[in-house]
Each structure stands twice: as C-alpha cells, then as structure tokens.
C-alpha cells in the first residue's frame, strides 16, 4: 500500500462529510415518510371499480336541463356515502368489494294482505326495468346525475296489497358486522343506530318517481351503490334512499329513521330538498355538482316540484323539514 500523506482525507473534512451524508439522509428519509403518510392518510385518488353485470332495460330520454350532464360512471361508483363501510366517500368502493349480494332475500310484510319473502332475482323480473335519469342531492351539499335502472316501488307494493291502515313504509338495510366494519362496536359505541332504517309516507312511496333500483349505467348495482336493491327518491336528500334493502314493512305509525334518531334537529323525517330550509350547520342554497368546479343553485324538491309539490300542500316545510 502506497498512499501519500497528501491523499489522506483530513479528519475534519471526513467528519463534516459524514455529517453531511447523515443530515442529507435524515432529510430525504423524513421526506419519504412524510410524503407516504400524507398519501396514505388523505387518499386523494380512488381505484376504479370493476364493472357490474349488464341488465336488459327500456331506454328513456333524460329529462334534464340543457346544462346538466350525467355524472361519469367512475364518479358514481367511486364517491359514495355508505356509512356501514366508511365515512370516507372514496374508501367505500374498496371496502364494499367483498360484500356478497347473492343469495339475497327481501322480506315484505307488516300491514299487507299478502306478505311475502322475495328472492332478489324474482324482484328484478317483477316489472319491466326502465332507465331513470335522476338528480341525486346529498344533504352535505354535493350532487350527481345518475342513470338508475329500476321500476316504480308501487309495482312491488301492489303485489303485497297494503291494507287500508297502512300509512308508512319502512326500509331496513343489511346488518352484517362481518362485512360492514362500521357496524362493529367501537370504543365509543356505534357510529349510528344499526341496521340503517329509512321510511316514507305511503303516498310518497307510491309516487311514480319513487323507484326500486337494481342497477345503474345499464349494469347491476355494485355494493357501494346499494346492491342488490335500493330505493331512490329523487326529490329528497340522498340519505332517504336506503341501500342494500333486506326488509320492507308497511306500518300505521311513522317509522324511526336512522339519521333522524342520531340528530333530530339536523335530519328530519321528510328531508325534502329545499334551498330555503338550511341545515342547522350549513346552507342548502347551493350544491356542488360532482365534476363541476363552481357551486350551482339547489332547486326546490331537487327540480321535481312540478311532480311532487302537491304531496305537501298545506304543510309548513320549515317545521316538517
């Protein structure tokens, strides 16, 4: 070994280089950790959902205003309020993937002449499937336009023949803590009162706009959108349209509904879309249509006033919110 003394790195230089390498390493290492933590925690992107099974249905012309367009399939299936799975709308699709929707039965009973347990495939064949392009307005202030596939709820209710004493319809969603993580008891109890329950007045349920949906965009519903069967009530805030229904009960008294039980001051039984009636914590005057940048004005009864306003004539919509 022949090393000249001039080639030996002086001790101070060696130490400062060592410090430099350490400090640079710590800086870039910490940045990698911070960046990963940020992406993991806030999850800006959702993974595209797999496609559903195609359905046969009758196509219809959309009844929308000139400036309204369908919300893309990716957005409809990637941004969902389904609290049983997650309160984070972009995480629902992934978490709901393992949900089994066959076999599936729906118990229809209560104040009816012919109570019956329907198999889901029987329900799908119960009436001709139509495409219904509806606005969907969430109580949180965002909205979509969704091409549902389904048929009027009335068709199913007529099959079981409601008694004259029946005045309300109650919907009960699936209770299965094995696949629905938020139905398990947390440290502080449950997020909401499970199973999820919603309800309508019988005349609202029989209204031709109220449908049972089994699909969207021409395909069977995916779990995140409420597979295999959900109700869609387009003039009410989204939470009224119960998903993954297992039980439909006709009653004489008004059903206790999940969000109303959780926060009665904030979520009423009627929950009709109404820009003039604020949520106690935010205004309902405008909404962000998913896919659009600026907010647009919210319409009374979500734009279906002509068809449904008569259901509430003489009612004070401020107290019956």
């Amino acid at each position: 070994m022949n090393v000249k003394s001039s080639e030996v790195t002086p001790k101070e230089v060696y130490l400062s280089r060592r410090r430099f390498v350490l400090q640079a390493g710590l800086l870039f290492g910490s940045l990698a950790v911070t960046g990963t933590a940020y992406r993991w925690f806030f999850e800006p992107e959702s993974k595209p959902a797999p496609r559903g099974t195609p359905l046969n249905f009758i196509r219809t012309k959309p009844q929308l205003m000139a400036d309204e367009h369908l919300t893309s399939y990716e957005k409809v299936t990637g941004y969902n309020n389904f609290y049983e799975f997650s309160t984070y709308k972009q995480a629902v699709a992934k978490r709901a993937r393992q949900m089994k929707v066959r076999p599936w039965t729906v118990v229809v009973g209560g104040l009816v002449a012919r109570p019956k347990i329907f198999d889901i495939d029987e329900i799908i064949r119960l009436a001709p499937l139509e495409e219904r392009i509806y606005r969907m307005r969430c109580v949180e202030g965002w909205s979509m336009v969704i091409p549902w596939i389904g048929f009027p709820l009335k068709a199913l209710l007529d099959k079981v023949e409601p008694l004259s004493t029946a005045r309300y319809v109650e919907f009960e969603s699936l209770y299965d803590p094995e696949v629905m993580p938020n139905q398990r008891q947390g440290l502080w109890g449950s997020l909401l009162n499970w199973p999820y329950r919603e309800g309508l007045r019988l005349d609202e349920a029989m209204h031709p706009l109220t449908i049972l949906a089994v699909g969207l965009y021409g395909e069977m519903l995916l779990p995140q959108n409420g597979a295999p069967l959900r109700v869609v009530v387009p003039w009410k805030y989204g939470f009224k349209s119960a998903k993954s229904i297992v039980k439909i009960t006709l009653r004489s008294d008004r059903p206790q509904t999940t969000w109303n039980l959780a926060q009665p001051r904030e979520y009423g039984f009627y929950a009709n879309v109404n820009p003039a009636v604020s949520h106690p914590r935010w205004s309902q005057q405008t909404e962000r249509r998913i896919g659009e940048f600026w907010r647009r004005p919210t319409l009374l009864f979500n734009g279906y006033a002509e068809q449904v306003a008569h259901l509430y004539s003489g009612m004070d919509l401020k107290t019956n919110f």
Binding site: Q23, L27, T34, E43, E45, Y79, W142, L191, R288
Partner: protein, 202 residues
C-alpha cells in the same frame, strides 16, 4: 444538529404536503370532489401542525432536547400557512371571493365563525412572530399575545368537530392530544406557583 438544519428539516417536511397537493391538483388527481378535498386536507394539516407546535414545549421540557425551541416558530407558521390555504379555499372556491356571501355564512353558521376566530388569531400571531416584533412588544407582552394560541387551538378543534357529520374519530384524537398538551401547561404553571410559594414561605 444546527439550528438552520433543524429548521430546514421541519420546513421541508411541513411544505411537502402542500407541494404534493399542488402536484396532484395539476394532474387532476384530487379525487371526485377536488374542492372539498382541498379544503378538508388543508384544514386537517393546519390542525396537525397546530398540535405539533403546542407539543414543542412539553416535549422539550420532558426530554431535555432544548434545540427543539428553534422549530416552534417554523411549526406555528406552517400551521398558519395551511389555515390560510384552508380559508382561501373556502372563501374563493365556495364563496367565489364574495364578501357578502361570506358574511351571510358567518351570520348563520356558528362553526364558520369559530373557525374564522381561530384563523384571525393565527394571523395575528404570524404577523407578530418576527424577532423585531418580539423586541417591539417586549418579551412579557409578546408571550401574553402568543399565549392566545391556546384559545385558538380550542376554537380550531371545536370548528373541526362541528364540521363533521357524526364521525368524530379524528376530532376525538385531536381532543385527547389538546387536553394533554394544555393540561401539561396548567399543571406545570401550578407547580411553578407552588414552588414560588414555598420559596416565599421560607
């Protein structure tokens, strides 16, 4: 580790989420509801940095890592930076920079007022965070002004809590941390006081 290096470390890590946010926005990768994503994310980041700012003193005193004091202002300013983005997102994207629209929201919504109050305090603290300001106000008065961060943090948490529907998991975590950090200060102040009393009695 030198003071400059520590500050660089904190600043770089603190600004990284903003850079990623900007990068994702330019690629249109902020998800399905980008405006909501931007407002929510900047709000949570501001809250996290506020908690980190408040953690500096207890951690420094308990661990003896006295150098940590050099990053307290950096963390506080980062928290203000994200609060500013949060406010601008809300004001410009939700209200289209319309003062009258903002005012009507303030008149009707408590949680917006509370958030705004917290933000204004952070703004004042950011303005008075320079060395010149410390000199101008005098150490004692400056500390008095800057102890308003405690009130601001409580308001920020309340604002966060009221903004979510029923899923208060994250606000609950923030509450536990804030109780610990503010409780530590109450306890250490009381111990300091009783120490003074002991001295006086002697």
């Amino acid at each position: 580790m030198s003071r400059a290096y520590l500050q660089l470390l904190v600043l770089a890590n603190g600004l990284l989420p903003a850079l990623l946010l900007a990068f994702d926005a330019l690629r249109h990768k902020l998800g399905v509801n980008p405006v909501e994503y931007f407002i929510r994310t900047t709000g949570v980041l501001s809250m996290v940095l506020l908690i980190l700012t408040l953690a500096v003193t207890p951690v420094r005193q308990l661990s003896g890592l006295s150098q940590l004091i050099h990053v307290r202002r950096t963390l506080g300013l980062l928290s203000f930076f994200y609060a500013l983005l949060h406010f601008l997102g809300y004001f410009c994207l939700e209200h289209r920079c319309s003062i009258s629209s903002l005012m009507s929201d303030l008149a009707n919504r408590h949680f917006v007022v509370i958030g705004m109050a917290s933000f204004i305090v952070l703004l004042l603290l950011a303005i008075t965070s320079t060395k010149a300001m410390v000199r101008c106000l005098g150490g004692r008065r400056w500390r008095q002004v800057h102890s308003q961060i405690y009130g601001s943090s409580v308001a920020a948490l309340l604002h966060y809590w009221l903004a979510v529907k029923v899923d208060t998991d994250l606000p609950q975590v923030c509450l536990v941390l804030l109780v610990l950090l503010l409780g530590y200060r109450l306890l250490s102040r009381n111990t300091a006081r009783s120490a003074v009393t002991v001295l006086k009695l002697r």
